[in-house]
Amino acid sequence: MKISPRLQISLVTGILITFGLALTLYKNIELGFPLSPGQQQTVWKVESKISFEPIDGPVNISMALPQAQAGWQLFNEHFASSGFSFIVQDKQGVRQAEWARRSLNQKTTLHYKFEIYQSNTIDLENIPAPNIITPELTPDRLTAMKSVVSSLKQHSNSPVSFTQNLLEKLLLDDIGQNASFLLANKENSKLSVIMDILAFANVPHHTVKGIFLEDGRRRQTIDTLIEIHDGKHWHIFNPSSGEKGLPENFFIWQRGAGSILNVMGGKDSRLEFALVKNTLPLKTILFLEQHVQEQLLLDFSIYSLPVEQQGVFKGLLLIPVGALVVVLLRVLVGIRTAGTFMPILIALAFVQTTLLTGLFIFLLVVGIGLWIRYYLSYLNLLLVARITAVVIVVILLMATLSIVSYKLDLDQLLTVTFLPIIILAWTIERMSILWEEEGGHEVLIQGSGSLFAATLSYLLMSAELVKHLTFNFPELMISLLGFVLLLGRYTGYRLVELHRFRYLGRPDE
């Protein structure tokens, strides 16, 4: 039996649209995936790398895992440990990851990835103050210590102001004879000297280890803060700046004594972090937190890709939306554009440059380009050579624009580099031929038509809701495909035809 194209189209589009919508609804209703973006939340993807060089014998690495504190939430943990036996166990309330292997003969890196976000800012838990262990010092160091502590105590009336004075003093260039004597001993780092002084002055204290979150950092290391107890509360200090309070971008890994990483059977061990910042809808995060491991459908979703690829798809998935705008404008409205998909590419460039800047740069570059192309047409060149010449001219124009705007501090114009060169050159070529053949009027119509379509696509593509839907419900693209196929069979009148044929009809009718 042969099915007519008309029926086939109805069947195929029906199936496609229903399938896409059904998947979307399933994800929304059954899996609780939110349809609207809602509140946005900054999420940090942290990739920890433990690298070490093995020595003879068995290798055993243990790492204290971070605990969610101060309102931070941790989710989506991944461990990579090929060839190692691996367990996570609880040791005195702290989760500890342990990798073990009989023998190893090359430098190795172990990975531990997780994602964190700060759901709210709450104070750290008020844990009991630890016992103070007075350091054992040689007589000459003891004398220096006594004089440092007594001079600091003269200027302070509480453990907090004592610590503040101490840290401020150590930051100065001229820290005094006694203090520099204490620091002079190479065996003692500045941090341990501070701890010794605090212990000697009878101030309960401990270290707070964690990471300063900076977007795009590849080799971030653990930093240490100091926390003291004034008898009632804990107070946190940053020893490298002397500032009081927990820095906003500091993620606490471990609070209190103890080491994070222990490597047995290895040397030169390092713990480094790569950090990527990402903004996601809060609902999505909450959802991912609960379900990421459970659902097969999610396991094959875009979320399972590495962060960089996710970023690429974020852009790619928007293209069908832009294409839809162009199809609608051409088929239903009848707007003429220069090239079918040039408006989408311009719209994609606008996403990077923002709309007004993008429009301005586009008009500027194409305008100057057209003028130069006008001259080139005098020279009577072969087509390929001429287009190549236009490409070179466009690149020179963009470079000039960048340099001039940089010198004038117009940072926005620097985004000119996001406009696709080939599209610009091609637009200039097309427009100039159009100008010669059909006159400036047609250039104006098609040029403004393209820019209108590009602007509309951009507005749609930059809408939060559209971004959210395309990225979280890529199956909507299947429905979109069905809808576009349906549009391909649209045989009704275009909007412009209602204007074009306005005088039609015999006077007597």
Binding site: G334, L383, E497, R502
Partner: protein, 314 residues
């Protein structure tokens, strides 16, 4: 700004762009048949094989290297046309009407030296005027000396007759007259005048420029209402017989009335425009539907014309 409604257009049977593309071009025209009509050289060869009249070919320039042979090919010919084989919308057509020593005279009486003609030919070859910028070949044709009876209805260009052929039946026709605004070209969207022609008798119906009805030619001031085309049956015969040649279900045949040869085929168009409906002040779709409803098949050209003239007489 005045607008009409879709229901009004539907009632009058107006064919829209989307419907043209899907219902008629898409359904009746196989893509593999396009090259024959998109390439004027191929069209000409096929037409000659079937003994149809076409403007005579003086020569073809195929490569940039051959541009040097142009002078030799032209010989002593004083009137000629150079055009791209795959040009669209009348682009790249150079018409030379006379020769004065080293100078060539264009239709607009502007002078051009031989370097200029070489440059134009070279541009044609590099694809400047062709669909998608593909490399092309340049055709040199003898100039058509069109019927002087029509010369008062045109400015600087050859008036041609466009006949829409649907499954071999002539369904609608118009004469296209160039104007000063259209720069000597016969394209309606560039400002040329379209004059609707009655399929049955070959007389004029309405004249439109830029979608509006006009009474007389804007440059020559001649009234359009009493035109009666000579050899009308021959025009229809020539146009309709192109169906056997191309096998295209829906196309437009552009025909010129030559003083000596009578009707000759200038070119064929697989995607004819919709402005012809304005020149006839009637819708194409209802006529196309009427043809679809005919039961008779495999009729001769003459029978088809008879039927069409019966159906579409005003």
């Amino acid at each position: 700004m005045k607008w009409t409604t879709p229901s009004k257009l539907r009632r009058q049977g107006i064919l829209g762009m989307n419907s043209r593309n899907v219902d008629f071009i898409g359904r009746s025209n196989d893509r593999h048949l396009y090259p024959l009509v998109d390439n004027k050289l191929k069209t000409k060869k096929a037409a000659l094989q079937l003994g149809m009249s076409v403007p005579s070919l003086i020569g073809v320039i195929e490569t940039q290297h051959d541009v040097k042979l142009l002078k030799q090919r032209l010989g002593d010919v004083k009137q000629f046309v150079i055009k791209p084989a795959q040009g669209s919308g009348g682009k790249g057509i150079l018409v030379i009407t006379d020769r004065q020593g080293d100078h060539y005279i264009k239709t607009s009486s502007a002078k051009l030296n031989f370097r200029g003609i070489e440059r134009h030919t070279s541009n044609i070859l590099s694809g400047l005027y062709s669909l998608g910028g593909r490399t092309d070949v340049a055709m040199i044709e003898a100039l058509i000396s069109f019927d002087p009876a029509l010369s008062k209805y045109t400015y600087e260009g050859v008036p041609d007759i466009r006949v829409i052929i649907y499954h071999g039946y002539p369904v609608m026709a118009m004469m296209r007259c160039s104007t000063h605004a259209s720069d000597g070209k016969a394209n309606l969207h560039q400002g040329a005048v379209g004059v609707g022609i009655d399929i049955a008798y070959g007389h004029s119906l309405y004249a439109v420029q830029n979608d509006r009805i006009i009474e007389k030619h804007p440059d020559t001031d001649c009234h359009f209402h009493d035109i009666k085309l000579a050899n009308w049956d021959k025009v229809l015969q020539l146009a309709s017989s192109c169906y056997e040649m191309t096998k295209l279900g829906y196309f437009g045949a552009d025909i010129v009335l030559d003083k000596k040869k009578g009707p000759v085929i200038l070119e064929l168009n697989a995607r004819p425009g919709l402005a012809i409906q304005m020149a006839n002040q009637t819708g194409l779709k209802k006529r196309l539907k009427a043809i679809d409803n005919l039961c008779q098949q495999n009729l001769s050209v003459d029978k088809r014309i008879q039927l069409a003239q019966h159906l579409f007489s005003n």
